[in-house]
């Protein structure tokens, strides 16, 4: 609220990256990371809307037993596309490519990412990939589940090849983004910013990028083999031809497990930023958080088999993978403890981004802890492929990543568009989404652990009530989202002008105006500890935070 009603609306909007040029070409072929980020943002939100609508279709179909609004074939297509769209088109590019693209060079005080053309190419690939995926939907959809398990995927007569081709292209897009980030962080750090002087968001993006670069190619080859298998009948994964379907699962999860950390790591980065800024306190255990990001990235490659405990994987591997799975949960636990401790004796301001960050800890906590049930062999045998898993991954992906994405979106919104949104609506909708989410997915935990299998079009009587509750919850959530969409659009049109540093962060991206100029900084920013708030002081006159010169308050 403090920032809403400040009477600082300059008459003229200073030149910035948004208004320095206009026209379709100036956007679609721009090399400016900020514009690319904004285009990514618009694209992924569109995809989120599509995926979300499909989610509502799923929930509506499951509202009652038997057929409610669609046939079983349609249902199978809808959840497949819901999963594929949400994962490949929304959440994987979500934080890194949209928000990350925007803030990464700014946080480094750089003019752009190291390889701007590659960045643009990555966006174009994203668009092409998205179009190919949409094509597969238009042609009639795909019904394999987002995991494309062989031999079902090699024998069904839906448009698997097209969707996988789309995902293949998106894979390249993701690789290029990751590659770019690694190079940028290595080569573009300003003088005076060592590795351990970077904001934790950069560590998170760096760890994410490692996974993107090392894991995504394997997805590429998997999907390629699947296409070859379908088109030419090569037989590597098809038992009817002597192939091995379990090998397919190894291939798939070698990418797709690390991919879940592509989703969560940047989210954790955002949370690290927000908790510190809104508590106005130095982040607790900086190094532990930084190292844990890298540890998660490294370990994430060693646990893929926990998706295959009942698949026919050998007992030996099951044991190894189960043990390794738990090793990833430790760095996550470390982060949780550090965040909470950061709040201790802080000066906590509960603005929308912080509300989201707190919701994140609540939801990700549940999601992550339920991962322990799944990582443990005996319980996973019971829980595998039930709604318990569905609830687990929605808690981590939605409760974790999407909520953190929303936190980041609200946090950097003023920087991106130079305008504030309605703070009160922001908080209310954050609460609505969280409540709706819990209703939807707690019910799924219960039915899952009671045996309700996932990817089921229909269910037995026992689960009627729980499914009904779950569907109702999803409508509540949808209301929350439409509120968010509403006030954000309104803010774009008529929101009050944003201060250069409305939250009081000490990181470099807040040292330029909101929105930034075309080349990011008019003067080189002053490199400093991103979590030292002593030199960022509230300036009542302008309604935001300003840096005080170091003479007055030595760091």
């Amino acid at each position: 609220m403090s920032t809403n009603d400040t009477p600082m609306t300059p008459a003229v909007v200073p030149e910035n990256y948004l208004n320095c040029s206009s026209g379709f070409r100036s956007w679609f072929f721009t090399l400016d990371h900020k514009r690319i980020g904004v285009m990514y943002l618009a694209s992924i939100l569109a995809m989120f809307l599509i995926g979300g609508i499909m989610a509502l279709m799923i929930r509506t179909e499951l509202l009652t037993q038997g057929q409610t609004i669609m046939s079983s074939d349609d249902y199978n297509k809808v959840f497949t596309l819901h999963g594929a769209v949400m994962i490949f088109l929304f959440i994987i590019p979500g934080i890194p490519a949209a928000l990350g693209n925007f803030v990464l060079p700014l946080m480094l005080g750089a003019k752009d990412v190291a390889l701007p053309r590659l960045n643009l190419a990555s966006y174009h690939l994203y668009v092409v990939g998205a179009l190919v995926c949409v094509l597969s939907i238009v042609l009639g959809g795909v019904d394999t589940g987002w995991t494309f398990y062989a031999p079902y995927s090699t024998t069904t007569n839906t448009h698997v090849s097209i969707l996988t081709l789309g995902a293949f292209i998106l894979g390249f897009s993701s690789v290029f983004t990751g590659l770019n980030f690694i190079v940028t962080i290595h080569r573009m750090r300003p003088a005076g910013m060592g590795w351990f002087d970077m904001p934790l968001m950069l560590w998170a993006l760096y760890a994410t990028a490692i996974i993107q670069v090392l894991a995504t190619p394997v997805l590429g080859i998997t999907l390629l083999l699947l296409i070859v298998e379908r088109v030419m009948g090569i037989g590597i994964f098809d038992p009817a031809l002597g192939g091995d379907p379990v090998l397919y699962q190894h291939f798939f999860w070698f990418y797709s497990h690390p991919a879940v950390y592509i989703m969560i790591l940047p989210a954790m980065g955002i949370i690290s930023e927000i908790i510190s800024v809104f508590s106005r306190k130095h982040i607790f255990g900086y190094r532990a958080i930084a190292y844990s990001s890298i540890a998660i990235a490294a370990f994430s490659f060693l646990v893929w088999g926990h998706h295959m405990f009942t698949s026919g994987q050998s007992e030996l591997m099951n044991m190894i993978f189960s043990a390794l799975t738990f090793s990833v949960s430790i760095p996550s636990a470390v982060k949780m403890f550090n965040w909470i401790t950061t709040m201790y004796k802080g000066s906590i301001r509960l603005d929308t981004p912080m509300i989201y960050a707190l919701c994140f800890m609540f939801l990700f906590g549940i999601g992550g802890l339920t991962g322990l049930f799944l990582g443990s062999l005996a319980t996973d045998v019971h829980l595998h492929d039930t709604y318990f898993v569905v609830a687990h991954f929605h808690y981590v992906m939605f409760g974790g990543t999407v909520i953190a994405f929303l936190a980041g979106l609200h946090y950097w919104w003023p920087k991106m568009f130079g305008r504030m949104y309605d703070e009160k609506l922001g908080r209310i909708s954050a609460i609505i989404i969280t409540v709706g989410f819990n209703i939807t997915f707690i019910a799924q935990f219960i039915m899952g652990s009671r045996g309700m299998p996932r990817r089921y079009y229909d269910y037995v009587d026992e689960f009627s009530l729980l499914h009904f509750i779950s569907s109702m919850g999803s409508y509540v959530m949808a209301i929350g989202f439409f509120m968010v969409a509403g006030y954000l659009v309104k803010s774009l049109v008529s929101g009050p002008r944003a201060h250069a540093n409305p939250w009081g962060s000490a990181a470099l991206e807040w040292q330029t105006q909101s929105p930034p100029v075309h080349f990011n900084f008019d003067d080189d920013p002053e490199v400093c500890n991103p979590y030292d708030y002593s030199r960022v002081q509230y300036d009542a006159a302008s309604g935001g935070y300003v840096r005080v010169p170091s003479e007055v308050k030595p760091a």
Binding site: A110, K111, D112, A114, L115, P116, L118, V175, L179, N180, I182, V183, T184, H186, R187, M188, A191, V213, L214, A215, T216, P217, V218, G220, I221, T222, L224, L225, V228, M232, G233, I234, G235, I236, L241, G242, G243, D244, L247, H250, F251, F519
Partner: protein, 288 residues
């Protein structure tokens, strides 16, 4: 590494001097090092891409060695070996091209690039001959595997078990359990077909007594063979595209000591293509 004439103060001068310097970099060196790091990362993704195929190869070879010992004899070692040498030569010329670009030796650069390109075409040419041969004889993947021509020698009567296998699955083969397996006296036919290169192949075949029953699922080998060499071939094709582009630019005189990054980076890519072949060759052609 850096010859350290560029301190941050002469940056603006460098900006003015080199039109190839992009606005967001401080110096050509920073730009070069960024590009190079990016290229290396990209190469790692290439290696992982092929890694998947090597994984499929390893799994099937480990579990069904009999398929591999049997089927690899249909491949022509000599052509494969020749192609290996072609790629090694092209690697040398590429490395020379990079050197020439760095030192501003324009003519040498053009020559080296042209030679590299020639090698690439030669490689694909040989590959084409090999593919064509497989195609003609039905040595293909999946259901398309249908040994034809001289290779489909009818030796059903011979019940000599296939090459010894550790996995035991081949030993379990019960001739009555399934429709009669295809059998083939592979090597002679092939030897005749490829002419002078054939002797080694025939020898190897004799050594390993594979005249007997054909192991099951031999088509898997060809599936893997075609995917691996096919993907590699696509990479060669892409390399041809990029090198052609370099050649044109080098004729235009774009490269010199101040600006050689594209040559350098393409070189790296080309060496990886070579590197992958270095592994493909013994794994596919030289089993035993």
């Amino acid at each position: 590494m850096s010859d350290s004439q560029s301190s941050s103060h002469v940056d603006s001068a460098a900006h003015a001097a080199n039109p190839n310097l992009q606005h967001h970099f401080d110096s050509m060196e920073q730009q070069y090092e960024s590009g190079k790091l990016g290229m290396w990362l990209f190469l790692v993704t290439e290696i992982l891409l092929f890694g998947g195929l090597f994984c499929a190869y390893a799994v099937y070879r480990h579990n069904h060695p009999e398929i591999f010992t049997y089927a690899h004899q249909f491949l022509d070692k000599s052509l494969g070996g020749f192609n290996t040498i072609v790629l090694i030569v092209s690697s040398l010329t590429m490395a020379m091209a990079v050197r020439a670009a760095q030192l501003g030796q324009r003519r040498l650069l053009t020559t080296c690039l042209a030679l590299t390109l020639a090698c690439a075409f030669l490689f694909l040419g040989v590959k084409f001959v090999e593919y064509e041969h497989k195609w003609k004889h039905g040595l293909l993947w999946g259901k398309n595997y249908e040994v034809q021509g001289e290779m489909a020698g009818a030796t059903e009567a011979l019940m000599i078990p296939a090459a010894p296998s550790q996995s035991g699955s081949a030993a379990d083969v019960d001739p009555n359990a399934t429709i009669l397996p295809r059998a083939a006296r592979a090597p002679e036919g092939l030897a005749a077909e490829v002419g002078d290169h054939g002797d080694g192949v025939a020898d190897a075949a004799d050594d390993h007594a594979t005249h007997g029953l054909e192991p099951k699922n031999v088509h898997l080998f060809f599936g893997i063979y075609f995917v691996m060499t096919g993907l590699h071939g696509i990479h060669v094709l892409a390399g041809i595209g990029v090198i052609t582009w370099l050649l044109i630019r080098s004729l235009r005189g774009d490269f010199g000591p101040d600006y050689f990054a594209p040559v350098d980076f393409t070189g790296l890519y080309w060496h990886v293509v070579d590197l992958i072949w270095i592994f493909l060759f013994p794994l596919l052609y030289l089993i035993d």
